[in-house]
Symmetry: C2
Amino acid sequence: MTGGYLKGRMRREDIITAAIEVYREAGYNGSSLREVAKRAGITHAGLLYYFPTKEALLAAVLERRDAEDTEREKLDIAPGIDLLRHLIALAEYNVAHRGIVEVYARLAAEAVAPGHPAHEYFIRHYRIARESALATFRTLAANGELRPGVDPEAAAVAFIAMEDGLQVQWLTTPDEIDLVGSLRFYLQSLLTVPLG
Amino acid sequence: MTGGYLKGRMRREDIITAAIEVYREAGYNGSSLREVAKRAGITHAGLLYYFPTKEALLAAVLERRDAEDTEREKLDIAPGIDLLRHLIALAEYNVAHRGIVEVYARLAAEAVAPGHPAHEYFIRHYRIARESALATFRTLAANGELRPGVDPEAAAVAFIAMEDGLQVQWLTTPDEIDLVGSLRFYLQSLLTVPLG
């Protein structure tokens, strides 16, 4: 039983890894479950056993991305200005990987409907993102690095919103929007110390 | 010829009006072209003559919404703090009309792909929105109402991003996100005078 369960877990993780590669290269519209199955070395029917819909697979892809981001943060980075620098580095990474940003933006908008396969994922994702940003803004405030008048809670909601909104504008007209520069400008405007 | 053209224009506008009603009530998933056709008093095939896809119809719905917003702005409101107050009032209106906000958010994310029927609409929409915000932030700066260090161009991009991003968070968890309050907080943080 345990062996079968473990094998299933591993197969599931292999499919997610294959999906990340496929979507990173081809974006939302250019990708198919068949292509992912092929890359993972599994039949299309086999893939559907683990992920009955494209949306369910994409939610798992985004969940993996969050877990990797969180893992990295735990290892290296305490809440505060270093975390903001890390988030800017993540934005730089995103600019170089348009496909996965498109998956995130599309799924976030579709999944606002309760009942969507990724709805629960996005509720969790936003809560964790806001909590992480809140911890950082509180640390900055305690260090005197947050501009007076900036409320950490409101800034946390606003910062996550800004990241999401900038991504959609950038995806629409990549030549007109400086995603990283805009994010840096916004974060700097909240601080009393240079973001660097 | 001209009579036929005019009749076609009017029919087209009637369909858009019907679609706005249907989507305002039922949201993105609850609506269908058949329901819109019924409301507009036209056959389904007749509707498809004017709008071959749901996406093309929704782009026209959003275009109408923009035109109405712009018309109102031109009549009453000069760039500056009154325009910001007007935008907050629009956000209050949106909170009471979830369906149309959902249409906007979903279509914006889908339409990042060149070739999507609403792609050109969103390029225009974002350009106009950013220009309007830029004019307002420049006026505020000239009046000494913009906080020193706030760059009007960066603030314009950031403000539109913030609006979009807040909508998606609010649509996902309406009970956890104060859309209007968050927007007000952000705008106030850019100003030296009370937003009121």
